[in-house]
Symmetry: C2
Subunit: 261 residues, 2 copies
C-alpha cells in the first residue's frame, strides 16, 4: 500500500495523441507501448479519496483501462479540447440520484465547460445516470478530502493555465504541470526542492506553447527537484531513443505508469 497517494498516468500525449491520425513517422508506426499516448491526464488515489486531473476525449477509454470505479472530484488545468472533451463521461461516477461530483476549475475554465456542456450546468438533467456536479471555482488553495491542493499558475502560449501542487498533512507530495511554456515566479517557489514533479516535456524540439524536453530538464535542475517525470509528448518524442540520454532524476512517463508518494 502506498504511503500517501498513488498516481496513475491515464495519458501522456499531446492534443492529438500518439499515434497521430495519418502520420507515418517512426514513433507513430512504432510497436513500443511507451510510444502509444492518450491525451494527458492523471488519476490520484489516497486512502480517503480518488480524483482525476483533466478529462480529455480519451477519458472513457482511460477509466476502462485502469478499472476506476469511483471518483470524488475532477480537477481541470485548462479548457483546451484535449483536456475537457470527455467531461460528459464522468456521468458514470454519479449514477445514483444523490451522487455529486466536485468539479474544480478556474472561472475562465468553468465558463468554457459551461459553453461546451450547458445541459450539465443548467440543473435540468439531474436524472439517474446523468452527470451531477458541484462546481467549485478555484481562486486559491483548496482541499479534496485528505489532499491539500494549490493551483500553480503557468503560461502556455497565449493562455494562462494552472498545474496543481498536492500536499497531505502539510507535506508536499508532488506537483502536476502538463501544459506550460513558462512557470511563474510563484509556481517556481511553490515547487522548488520538491520530491516529485510531473512536467510538460513535449519533444526534443522547441515549441512556442510547450516546454521542450531540454527546457524541462533545465527547470528541474534549477529548481533542485529530486525526481521529475515528463509528460504530454508529441510524436517527436521516441521513448526508447530519448530515455537513455536523460540526466539522473529525469524520466519520460508513459500511459499506465504508476507512481507512489
Amino acid at each position: 500500500m502506498f504511503k500517501n497517494a498513488e498516481i496513475t498516468f491515464l495519458g501522456t500525449g499531446t492534443s492529438i495523441g500518439v499515434p497521430v491520425i495519418g502520420c507515418n513517422c517512426e514513433v507513430c508506426t512504432s510497436d513500443d507501448p511507451k510510444n502509444k499516448r492518450l491525451r494527458s491526464s492523471i488519476y490520484v488515489r489516497t486512502e480517503e479519496t480518488e480524483l482525476v486531473v483533466d478529462t480529455g476525449p480519451d477519458f472513457r477509454q482511460q477509466m476502462l483501462r485502469e478499472e476506476v470505479r469511483n471518483l470524488d472530484a475532477a480537477l481541470f488545468t485548462h479548457a483546451h479540447s484535449d483536456h475537457v472533451m470527455g467531461f460528459d463521461d464522468l456521468r458514470r461516477f454519479t449514477v445514483w440520484d444523490d451522487d455529486e461530483l466536485e468539479i474544480f476549475a478556474t472561472e475562465e475554465c468553468m465558463e468554457r465547460l459551461k459553453g461546451a456542456f450547458p445541459y450539465i450546468f443548467d440543473g435540468m438533467n439531474r436524472y439517474r445516470g446523468y452527470l451531477k456536479i458541484a462546481p467549485c471555482l478555484i481562486d486559491g488553495p483548496f482541499s479534496v478530502a485528505d489532499l491539500e491542493v494549490t493551483p500553480l499558475p503557468v503560461s502556455h502560449g497565449k493562455v494562462e493555465t494552472i498545474g496543481f501542487l498536492f500536499s497531505r498533512n502539510g507535506e508536499r507530495l508532488f506537483a502536476y504541470i502538463p501544459d506550460a511554456k513558462e512557470l511563474s515566479e510563484e509556481t517556481q517557489e511553490l515547487v522548488r526542492g520538491i520530491d516529485l514533479l510531473i512536467l510538460d516535456g513535449l519533444q526534443p524540439e522547441l515549441h512556442w506553447t510547450h516546454l521542450s524536453i531540454g527546457e524541462s530538464v533545465e527547470i528541474a535542475r534549477d529548481l533542485r527537484v529530486k525526481e521529475t517525470w515528463l509528460t504530454h509528448f508529441s510524436c517527436r518524442a521516441n521513448y526508447a531513443a530519448l530515455e537513455p540520454g536523460l540526466p539522473e532524476g529525469v524520466r519520460l512517463a508513459w500511459d499506465g505508469l504508476r507512481l507512489e508518494v
Copy 2:
C-alpha cells in the same frame, strides 16, 4: 470495388459506449468483439468523396482503427456529446493551410458546436495543423461531391434530430438514423421501400428517447425496407443472444462492419 459507396460502422454504441464504465453485466464483461461498442458514427466512401457522420469522443480512435487518411466533409445528426465531442480531432484532415473541411449541421446543432469549440469558429486559428472548417447550414437537401444528401427529421426524446438519406445519380442508396424515438411522416415517406436502412435499435427494452429493437423491427417491416441494420446499442443488447431471433432482413451492426451499396 463497391458499386456506389462503402459504409463503415465506426461505432455502434449508445452515449456511454459498451463496455460501460463500472458495469459488471454479461455484455460489459463479454469477450465478444461484437459487444464492444464505441460511440455511434459511420464513415462513407465513394469514388469521389469521403465523409463521416458525427464525431463523438472516440473519433480519433475510430480514424486510427480504420486507417482513414482523408475526409472531405463531416455531417452531424445532432449535438449530443456522444456525437460531437471528437470535433477537434478532425484537425488532422485539414493539415495544410489551404485545406477546409465542410461541416454540415442544422442551425441549432451548429450553435452548439460553436459553444463547445468557439476557437474553431472564430476564424482566429487558421494555422497549419489546426482545424479549418467551412460551416454549411442544413436547411434542405445538399450535395457532397457525388452524394446527394437529404436530412431526415426524427424525434429523439425531447429533441428533434436528423438522420440522412444518401443518394447517387438520383438513386437512393441508404439512410442512416442513429438516434430516434419516432420517424416523422416526411421521413417515413423518404425511406419507404429503401434497400438499406441503418436505424437506432438501442436494446430489447423500451426507452423514452430511443427505439427499442422491437420497435425498429416493426418500422422496418411497415416501411418494407429490404435490409435493415440496427445500431446505437446499450449494454442490454447482447449480440450473440439477440441476433438469431431477428426476422429476415434485420441485423445488428457491429464496430468495424463494412457494407457496400
